[in-house]
């Protein structure tokens, strides 16, 4: 119980840290959104008018006061207003989040399936040439840039083969290529870690003991090896989420999908601080939640970790 409490507590600490760091970094940037939007000479605003606008946004109050304002607002669910469009950040992010979560979630599931399939096929392959080939695939996958893969997939499946329409596709059709684009580079490190872990576990004496009981290779892999090898793969899966968020930005741009990725790119261009601040918090929250889930799941997979959990 104390284990869960301490993990949750430290997760909250990480969130607060991320919020503060993002705030400091965004404030430290020269210039701000107010300046970009209103100090344009073409608007012909006088210095007094600009000062009035700055005050209305609270742009010139003390740093600490601003921090406190932003933090207390965020805790209450009020993320402020976009400087660029004037819309509430909560609404903007809310609209984008669903589509991105769907893309990232499906991308992650596809990556896990791809990695698992690869590791299985490479471990059970009866021919050594096939195993070698399969084992070299992850290094190929990892070196493929997301934007390039997206463009190649569109070229091949949409323009050459005409299987998937890029113009006004249905909701499912629109997801296939982006999910694939996102999944391939994520699956590569996952497959590498899983393969390595499977090799390590297979070299352990207990595997020979199960073999000596008459077990076949698939039996061994499914019932003994996989559970032992899952732990390192799961740990890396938590880390790979960062890649998933970064990948979503590029994928959404390439496939012209609306989502957090696009929102981020637009907000960056406009130096829209409140939107960026909200995106950082959401990314950090997703990270923290997933890694917390990994930490809490680990003792379920490996009974040796349970003692520490109970202590």
């Amino acid at each position: 119980m104390t284990y869960v409490a301490s993990r949750v507590l430290s997760s909250l600490g990480v969130l607060l840290g991320a919020f503060t760091l993002a705030f400091v970094l965004l404030q430290a940037l020269p210039g701000d959104a107010v300046m970009i939007r209103f100090e344009n000479p073409e608007l012909g605003l006088t210095a007094e008018q600009i000062a009035a606008i700055r005050e209305s946004y609270g742009a010139d109050s003390g740093l600490l006061a601003e921090y406190w304002h932003a933090l207390s607002g965020a805790l209450g669910g009020d993320l402020g207003y976009s400087v660029a469009s004037g819309a509430p950040v909560r609404v903007l992010v809310g609209e984008a989040l669903g589509s991105t979560l769907l893309l990232a979630g499906l991308g992650f599931v596809a990556a896990v399936l791809l990695a698992g399939l690869l590791a299985f096929a490479a471990s059970l392959s009866p021919f050594s040439w096939l195993a070698t080939l399969l084992r070299s695939l992850p290094s190929l996958f990892i070196s493929v840039p997301v934007f390039w893969l997206g463009i190649v997939l569109i070229q091949l499946f949409s323009f050459r083969l005409g299987w998937i329409s890029v113009i006004r596709p249905g909701p499912v059709e629109a997801l296939i290529l982006p999910v694939l684009t996102l999944a391939v580079p994520i699956s590569a490190p996952l497959a590498q870690v899983l393969l390595r872990a499977i090799d390590d576990v297979r070299a352990q004496p207990f595997v020979a003991v199960v073999r000596a009981k008459g077990a076949s290779e698939p039996w061994l892999l499914v019932r003994n090896v996989l559970r032992n090898a899952a732990l390192p793969a799961m740990t890396i899966a938590g880390v790979l989420l960062g890649e998933l968020i970064g990948g979503a930005v590029v994928t959404e741009t390439v496939f012209a999908r609306f989502g957090i990725g696009r929102l981020t790119a637009d907000a960056l261009n406009a130096q829209d601080t409140p939107v960026l601040q909200a995106i950082v918090i959401i990314a950090a929250a997703v990270f923290v939640v997933v890694n917390l889930a990994v930490d809490l799941l680990a003792p379920v997979l490996d009974p040796r970790l349970r003692r520490r959990v109970q202590a």
């Binding site: 104390t2 352990q204 004496p205 207990f206 020979a208 003991v209 199960v210 073999r211 000596a212 009981k213 008459g214 077990a215 076949s216 039996w219 003994n224 559970r227 032992n228 997979l301 490996d302 009974p303 040796r304 003692r307 202590a311």
Partner: protein
């Protein structure tokens, strides 16, 4: 065809980069029901390879290149993988070497034992629980229902080996292959496990192929002994005969090098000159683990006492041994003496310094005068360093012997003193044998001219002949340089050969202390008697 196993002219080869290498040559033997046959030899003798071939579990690249293997009359030399899967578990079972790593850590004990039934679909699911409990009870595990729900890490090494035996006998195979089944266990546990195998043999008529490096153990427990060397049979016969009247020189050397309680002690006992300060003086030493910190205090956790009120002295130039089973606190005590571990109470004086209150500069200086040699030299040597670099390094660390050239010259001297010839000096640890690596570790320790050497199970991983060589070297060094030794060992036969005084530890307490000869002649404590009685090969009748 009454033999469970008949091996005729078996040759096994490994495919390597430079072609195929044959590792066993024409090995023949048979195991009848109710018979224990021991394959004995040093590492690299082909004993494990032979055992693996018999159950078709040779490592990748290994294959049978000649001869025949028959299991209960069936020629299985070229049996299909499918046929072998049917045979394994049903006809032939395996008891592995290292019980600690031989159970799936994520599976409950009961599931591991039930695995053979499930693989072979040999019992309906609803009776599995009852069958598992029967088996656990059969191998002497108390409260089998509760144990079946536990995980491997919750069991001791001896209990894990019992569980592995239960799993191996689940389908009642006629033949069991036991590959060094007790080498990872304490002596007293070792004897109980071997007694269990003896019961199985007597009551079920199980034939056992026992693989071991320990000739004395083989002689105690096997009906017949096969001595292997470099893949060839050196000697084959009833164990009493092999032990009493060995035919080959090799067997005679193995017997001479293996210390048993029957071996005469050649070493003259050493005593320090009167009035001299002892090298080590330990008084009322206690060491505790855990129970500190806020969390532990909140949970009202009691600290664990690893060492409890232990006192002893080691006169200069003599050897003191700390003996006991795992968990008895012997290594913790040594770590305090080497200033690697703090103590809860007591005083420890080493070479005139109070170890427990040293500042870091004095502690560093003491480290030069106190050196350690561990059980596994492969793990304690940097795999990328040549052995000459490894031996030069401590001199450079302490800035001794002037120039780099001077240090190298000293390192070469140290390596020559431990009988490692110049052509080996530029090799890396993995290119050396286990005995050579341990010599490097000793050279690395003596190059600093220490006064106290702590030997933590320094010879337990070595073959008997190699061990005998290392023990001779240590004895010579002690005589030449007046070194003081603190020896940590679970092997009482070795301790009897090299120690002047002994402290027997049990659960952190010193249960008995005396001169070595007196301890073995007249042990006072039940525990000490039990330890001594567990040493194999005491009665070469």
């Amino acid at each position: 065809m009454s033999d469970l196993l008949k091996v005729t002219d078996l040759s096994v080869a490994y495919a390597g980069r430079s072609g195929s290498r044959t590792v066993t040559h024409g090995v023949s033997f048979a195991v009848a029901p109710g018979e224990v046959v021991a394959l004995v030899g040093e590492s690299g003798s082909g004993k494990t390879t032979t055992a693996q071939a018999v159950i078709d579990l040779l490592p990748a690249g290994g294959r049978v290149v000649g001869g025949r293997i028959e299991l209960a009359g069936e020629d299985v030399t070229h049996a299909s993988a499918r046929r072998w899967r049917e045979l394994r578990g049903r006809r032939v079972g395996l008891i592995p070497q290292d019980p600690g790593a031989s159970l799936d850590p994520t599976k409950r004990i009961g599931d591991s034992v039930a695995e053979a039934f499930r693989i072979h679909r040999a019992a309906p699911r609803r009776v599995l629980g009852a069958r598992v409990e029967e088996l656990l009870d059969r191998v002497g595990i108390d409260d089998p229902a509760r144990r079946a729900r536990q995980y491997p890490h919750e069991l001791s090494g001896g209990m894990k080996q019992r569980v592995l035996i239960a799993a191996a006998i689940a389908l009642g195979p006629g033949l069991l292959i036991a590959d060094e089944p007790t080498s990872a266990l304490d002596v007293t546990v070792q004897r109980r496990i071997l007694d269990l195998l003896e019961d199985l043999r007597r009551e079920n008529g199980t034939g056992i192929l026992l693989v071991t490096h320990d000739l004395a153990l083989a002689a105690d427990h096997a009906d017949r002994v096969l001595v292997l060397r470099e893949g060839r049979v050196q000697e084959h016969g009833p164990s009493a005969q092999v032990l009493r009247a060995p035919e080959s020189d090799y067997t005679r050397r193995l017997l001479a090098d293996a210390p048993t309680l029957a071996t005469p002690v050649h070493r003259a006992a050493r005593t320090a000159p009167d009035g001299e300060q002892p090298a080590v003086r330990v008084r009322g030493l206690s060491v505790e683990f855990g129970g500190h910190g806020l969390g532990a205090r909140l949970r009202k956790e009691q600290p664990f006492r690893a060492v409890d009120d232990v006192s002893f002295e080691i006169p200069r130039g003599t050897t003191h041994a700390l003996v006991g089973e795992s968990g008895s606190g012997k290594t913790t005590t040594a770590r305090v003496i080497a200033a690697f571990q703090s103590a809860a109470s007591g005083s420890v004086e080493v070479l005139g310094e109070d170890v427990l209150t040293l500042d870091s500069a004095r502690r560093r200086e003491l480290r030069r005068r106190v050196q350690l040699v561990y059980q596994n030299p492969y793990a304690s040597l940097d795999p990328r360093q040549t052995i000459l670099d490894a031996v030069t390094e401590p001199l450079a660390n302490f800035g001794l012997e002037g120039s780099a050239a001077g240090r190298r010259a000293h390192a070469v001297q140290a390596l020559e003193r431990v009988a490692l010839p110049a052509e080996l000096h530029h090799r890396r640890p993995r290119e050396l044998s286990g005995g050579q690596r341990q010599r490097v570790a000793i050279a690395r320790a003596i190059v600093l001219h220490p006064e106290l050497l702590i030997l933590d199970e320094a010879t337990s991983a070595l073959d008997v002949t190699v061990q005998a060589g290392i023990l001779r070297l240590l004895d010579d060094l002690q005589r030449e340089r007046g070194l003081t030794y603190l020896v940590i060992s679970h092997d009482l036969a070795v301790v009897r050969q090299i120690a002047d005084t002994v402290t027997v530890l049990r659960r952190g307490r010193a249960v008995e202390q005396s001169g070595t000869a007196a301890l073995f002649a007249d042990p006072h404590e039940e525990y000490t008697r039990d330890l001594i009685a567990s040493i194999p090969g005491k009665v070469p009748s």
